[in-house]
């Protein structure tokens, strides 16, 4: 393993009252190496490192020993924090002090630990921000955290952590809240910094792909205990513990083949698809001040597609792509949209309130946050019965109760759940109830808006399986919105790729993911971590810089992607690309796609 261990942890335990959150955790870490700690929520991985840094709340009882280069951690960490050991956290917006400038926050450790004056410290801070590849450093120094994008903020956090040249850097889910393209950049940055400085890096994550990309050694945690440990190649290729195996199996891989189109019949010319969307646009009018002229924010800028019977269509995109705004507009649940939406022969966007209500029983939705989708004051049975009460007034109480029970069983929950309330359920159970509520009316269209993104990986797999079954057995069409390409690949036959309100590429999932034509699709695919460590390192090393998505308020003219596109030419600023056919159903909206295809 090379150098002697820098960080040693023996028998660490954390208890709150009678309940043990972490038990008997031991591991080593040497300089220049990265320890990946993986587990699902509640595994105790963050708690472990917070204990090492002495950042747990007062009620926590910590036992065991830990030391960094011979100096004690746990209680002794107070002397080492910010100097020999530094930590960065998951959500950079809430983890940075909102009223202090970036420059001051990055400079602060130098003032506190190295005794520098503020002016000197700020100069050094500018150098640090440069090292983490923050653009336009002089301006950033005087800006506040909310003025920066997510990726920039996290880079600032890293700069802050590295200010006093720590020997150990602890990163707690540093990229979880970020877009996948930004995540790749950040991981690449971390790798380079670790190598340059011969630091030890402890990386906590729930994503196997991140482990593959970054870790030299892996610690698998579950229920507060270490379940398996070993070098990364061994853990990923030949896992021994059944939990590790289950975790790997549940992690969706991009390489998986997508489902064979179930209803090729619908694709024949002449047969009208039940859902047709033409040139839909959603605009918000905003005023920055009450006397200023109102500005227009274009969230969705002319989107068209068809959806066949029993087909699952994935819509992928990062933040600002407009995918959620689009689906809500289609269901008329948010801002009013322009354009044409035809569902079951009716023009959805033009219906009045009464006609719209009548149509609601054929199109339903499941949201991202399972707990927020259920009214905590209502029981599960009442939640599921509500659409029946509203839209099937002729049904009497016994019939409703029977329907509720039936639907509950269909989603894999037994009838006993009828009286429970959402705060007592797990995330996966809540989401099943939400699906039951959506399916109780037997809708022909089900829209899933990031429906599995907040769930643990193993639960994700179960819910995806449930959705696939619903599609198969009941012939429901699915629109599945997600930022996770692997998940979309597992479930959807066709996919739309969106960027800043436009569809940049669309077609059968296999075709689009295996042979992408649009530079953005390529960038997205390149950013998805694979599960082979060797390929991962190579991929990261080869990654070019790609910046952050501009805010929808400042959409670039012409092609919206041109500001980040490695192949952009001046002509891309002049014309907005329209979708062109690559072949039968594969379309791409790029002016240069022919030249760029090898």
């Amino acid at each position: 393993m090379g150098d002697p261990a820098l960080l040693t942890v023996e028998g660490l335990g954390i208890a709150y009252g009678a309940a043990a959150a972490v038990e008997d955790v031991s591991f080593d870490l040497s300089p220049g190496r990265c320890l990946g700690v993986i587990g699902e929520s509640g595994a105790g991985k963050s708690q472990t490192f917070l204990a090492l840094m002495s950042l747990l709340p007062a009620q926590a009882r910590v036992s065991g020993r830990a030391s960094l280069a011979g100096r004690p951690l746990l209680d002794g960490a107070k002397a080492l924090r910010g100097r020999e050991v530094a930590m960065i956290f998951q959500d950079p917006l809430s983890s940075l002090t909102p009223h202090m400038t970036i420059g001051d926050q990055v400079a602060e450790p130098l003032v506190v630990h190295r005794g520098l004056g503020w002016t000197q410290a700020r100069q050094r801070a500018a150098q640090l921000l440069d090292q983490v590849r923050v653009n336009d450093v002089p301006r950033r120094l005087g800006q506040f955290p909310h003025e920066l994008s997510g990726g920039m903020r996290q880079r600032a956090m890293i700069a802050m952590a590295l200010a006093c040249d720590p020997q150990l850097l602890i990163a707690d889910e540093p990229t979880t809240a970020l877009d996948v393209s930004v995540q790749a950049q950040l991981l690449k940055l971390l790798r380079e910094l670790v190598a340059e400085r011969r630091m030890a890096l402890a990386l906590v994550t729930h994503d196997m792909g991140v482990i593959a990309a970054m870790a030299d050694d892996v610690l698998v945690m579950r229920g507060g205990r270490v379940v398996e440990r070993g070098p990364v190649q061994q853990i990923l290729a030949r896992p021994e513990h059944e939990y590790t195996r289950a975790l790997l199996a549940a992690s969706p891989r991009l390489e998986d083949a997508s489902p064979v189109p179930a209803a090729p019949v619908a694709r024949e010319a002449g047969r009208a698809a039940p859902l047709t969307v033409r040139d839909v646009a959603v605009r918000f009018r905003m005023r920055r001040h009450w006397w200023a002229r109102p500005e227009e924010l274009v969230a969705v800028d002319g989107v068209s597609f068809d959806l066949a019977d029993g087909e699952a269509l994935g819509i992928v995109g990062e933040s600002g792509s407009g995918k959620s705004t689009l689906t809500r507009a289609l269901l008329r649940l948010g801002q009013q949209a322009q354009g044409q939406v035809s569902w079951l022969g009716k023009s959805v966007l033009d219906l009045d309130a009464g006609e719209l209500r009548a149509l609601r029983d054929s199109m339903q939705v499941v949201f991202q946050d399972p707990f927020a989708s259920l009214d905590p004051a209502m029981s599960v049975g009442e939640c599921i019965a509500e659409p029946l009460r509203a839209l099937r007034p002729a049904m009497d109480a016994p019939a409703r109760a029977a329907a509720v029970r039936r639907t509950l069983e269909n989603v894999g929950l037994d009838a006993g759940f009828v009286t429970r309330r959402s705060p007592t359920l797990s995330g996966g159970q809540c989401q099943r109830v939400a699906i039951a509520r959506a399916m109780v009316l037997d809708p022909k269209l089900l829209v899933c808006d990031e429906a599995v993104s907040s769930l643990d990986v193993s639960i994700q797999a179960q819910i995806l399986e449930l959705l696939a079954r619903i599609k198969r057995e009941q012939g429901t069409s699915l629109v599945f919105v997600s930022h996770n390409l692997a998940v979309v690949r597992r479930l959807c036959e066709r996919v739309l790729v969106m960027y800043l309100g436009r569809v940049v590429e669309s077609g059968p999932t296999d075709r689009v993911f295996d042979a992408p034509r649009h530079p953005y699709t390529r960038m997205l695919l390149e950013s998805v971590p694979q599960l082979d460590p060797a390929r991962e390192r190579a991929r990261l090393a080869a990654l070019g810089a790609s910046g952050d998505t501009p805010s929808p308020v400042d959409r670039p003219a012409g092609c919206p992607f041109r500001t980040r596109c490695p192949s952009a030419l001046p002509l891309c600023a002049g014309t907005r690309p329209e979708p062109e056919s690559v072949d039968q159903s594969h379309q791409v909206a790029c002016l240069r796609w022919r030249e760029l295809t090898k």
Binding site: R328, L331, V365, D369, A372, E386, L441
Partner: protein
């Protein structure tokens, strides 16, 4: 947690019991004059347990009567304030947009004005001792905080996904207000209503202290304190008795309201 609510409820219970049972407990009425015991300190003789005032009126009887007035007015006025405040806040929070902005701007302006202005304006508009003036004055300030709180809650509830899901499920707007918004707001309303009661009682006492509230021969805790303040050099009990009752009443309501707020709002 339960320890917090217990003592307050007990104190309030005792005060309410005493107040309404007083006519049977004491031989004196609130306006009977005892010429032989003018301004005497608390004593057992002649059943003047809390002493008498300058005119020989028994302070226990007057104090309890004042307590009755305060409790009744407090509860009634609070009910009205709550009704106005909840409706105002729920409508503003649910409708949102310009209507919400206008409605809450109104609340902001009234909230920032010293309520003495309203009192003065009312004092010039109505004859003295008018109960209508009293009610309007109290009502004018009591509903503001409730409106703000309910509006905040409604606004955040409306954005929650279960409301969107209910709309997708075909539930009508009144249905959403009744089945989703109301049950989730009721806890907050109860907690803050309990906190409004002492504010209302305090305000009423303040008005009576200024001479604008309850008139002779009826007493309010405020008017008793006013009288007591004038006599405090020679008869301090005339001040201490009503002041003590008022403080106990207010403190108990506040403690109860805070405890409820901790239970129902912060952990809700």
């Amino acid at each position: 947690m339960n320890a917090r609510l217990g003592p307050s409820i007990a104190i309030l219970g005792v005060l309410a019991l005493l107040a309404f049972a007083a006519p049977w407990l004491t031989p004196w009425s609130h306006d009977a004059l005892d010429w032989q015991h003018l301004a005497v300190p608390p004593q057992l003789e002649a059943s003047h347990w809390l002493g008498t005032d300058r005119l020989g009126r028994d302070l226990f009887a007057r104090g309890m009567q004042a307590l009755r007035v305060s409790l009744a007015l407090g509860l009634l006025a609070t009910l009205v304030s709550v009704a106005i405040g909840v409706s105002w806040g729920a409508v503003a929070g649910y409708l949102g947009g310009r209507i919400d902005a206008a409605m809450m701007r109104f609340v902001d302006i009234v909230y920032a004005l010293p309520y003495v202005f309203i009192v003065i304006i009312l004092a010039t508009l109505f004859p003295r001792g008018s109960l209508a003036a009293l009610f309007i004055a109290i009502g004018a300030v009591g509903w503001l905080t409730m409106a703000r709180i309910v509006r905040g809650q409604t606004l955040s509830l409306r954005k929650r996904e279960f409301v969107t899901a209910a709309i997708a499920g075909g539930v009508s707007t009144p249905g959403i207000l009744w089945r989703h918004i109301f049950p989730n707001v009721i806890g907050t309303v109860i907690a803050y209503a309990t906190l409004t009661i002492p504010q209302v009682i305090l305000f009423e006492s303040f008005l009576s202290f200024l001479g604008l509230g309850v008139q002779e021969p009826y007493a309010s805790l405020g008017s008793l304190i006013n009288e007591g303040a004038q006599e405090m050099e020679t008869s301090p009990w005339m001040l201490l008795v009503p002041a003590g009752l008022l403080v106990a009443l207010l403190a108990a309501f506040n403690a109860l309201g805070n405890g409820l707020r901790r239970r129902l709002v912060d952990h809700g």
